[in-house]
Symmetry: C2
């Protein structure tokens, strides 16, 4: 089992809504998790069952995860083959167990996966969450930091957050793709040459008024241009703009001169 | 506007499903966001409209957020009052814009909020995502690192992930409550006294066999007990267990002695 193949087990305890099971499976697939277990789904399970059908309908690309979900009668049976069990709870319990964040879970799961240990995480039913006896079966509590005035997290979204943190712990937090520069960032020489050309044209056009503000006006303008992080193509574009404006002005000046 | 009052604006562009709008609002409330904007909801909006009703039905504690959502005809109008606009996209675009992760968004949003800047983030329609013209209105792209084989994120879950990262950036990543020790961790003196008592009782019971393994057997046992991170109450409990076992054994030994 390589680290990438390691899949912490998502265990939904007494889930009620097929939509939440399907959405949980979809979120798992988004973030590289595939082992889904169900403990005593309230309204049954299996082909033809309404909860099962709703789960398939909402799983989008994760039908296989829903179909492969294994069903157990009790939490104890569902965690029998695991080395470490976490339990998600929204509120504090009178249980002397360590409490970690979703990020803390992911970081520990990553280390245990690398040691070929199997890990599972329990999620309670939609309305009530896990009962104390079920939390008691776990080694460690996972709890989400939420707005205390709106602390009720949707079941599938809780699964999504845990899966997201797992994927981040495994792959790093970077965005999946970076800005690709079509042309290289402009070299300083090209930039300075453009700045000097712009200075001359602006001087010519009488832009730097009053004369004693020239230094600060030049500096402000250069700072604005620097902030644009200009690429070579950008500098060529801007030079073209300045040429056009200058020539247009020269032409008008000449025409006006010729007309009077 | 204090940092806690700052609420990056969630902008759903041409959303289709009321359930996703409601679940997005719920996730926003979970993580302290309240400013929801809708651009041209596909099937309309407002009291009596089916999309609106579905949104209210799925928002759980966030009805107020759904009711207060403002509706715009275009993305440009929806972002008019914002200082910085982000766009979520699943795939690479031919647009020379910086790309950040959800975490990167949250970290930048936090800094801008502290400077009293208003920030918004665009989410595209369920099936297609934002079009290129809509992405073009944003300053920066936000993209989620996902399993490339299952990259289609549910709209409400995308909103949930961004909101979750925002809350983490604002409040830190720690779990919302820590393990509370009902009694203090046992002091070394108490532990050692217990270990010595256990040693004597085990010696008495003939546990350390063969004699030349005694040192290593004692060390293994102590290591196991150390790993339990025993608290004072735990040590008292375990001492009681050892006393009970020893006395029971003594009693049986006496009875057997008396009986023969």
């Amino acid at each position: 089992m390589s680290l990438v193949e390691c899949s912490p087990v998502i265990i939904l305890v007494r889930p009620q809504m097929g939509e939440n099971i399907g959405m949980a499976a979809r979120a798992m697939a988004n973030f590289g998790l595939f082992d889904l277990r169900l403990v005593a789904p309230r309204d049954g399970w299996g082909e033809g069952n309404a909860v099962y059908t709703a789960a398939i309908d909402t799983a989008v690309g994760a039908h296989a995860t829903v179909r492969a979900a294994t069903v157990f009668e009790t939490v104890s049976e569902a965690v029998g083959d695991l080395h470490k069990v976490f339990a998600t709870t929204a509120r504090e319990r009178d249980q002397a167990k360590p409490v970690v964040s979703a990020e803390g879970f992911a970081s520990e799961a990553r280390v245990r996966c690398a040691s070929k240990q199997s890990i599972g995480i329990l999620f309670g039913p939609e309305r009530t969450g896990l009962d104390n006896q079920e939390v008691g079966i776990a080694d460690t509590i996972v709890s989400f930091s939420v707005n205390p005035d709106h602390s009720s997290l949707n079941l599938a979204q809780s699964v999504s957050l845990v899966s997201y943190e797992w994927f981040k712990a495994l792959n790093g937090a970077a965005a999946p793709f970076a800005l690709e520069f079509e042309t290289a960032p402009a070299q300083r020489e090209m930039l300075l040459s453009f700045f000097n050309y712009l200075d001359e044209e602006l001087d010519d056009a009488g832009y730097f008024v009053p004369e004693n503000k020239k230094t600060i006006m030049r500096r402000n303008l250069r700072n604005i241009l620097h902030r644009m992080e200009l690429m070579e193509a950008d500098v060529r574009t801007l030079r073209g703009v300045v040429v056009a404006l200058s020539n247009g002005r020269s032409k008008r000046v000449k025409e006006q001169a010729g007309g009077t």
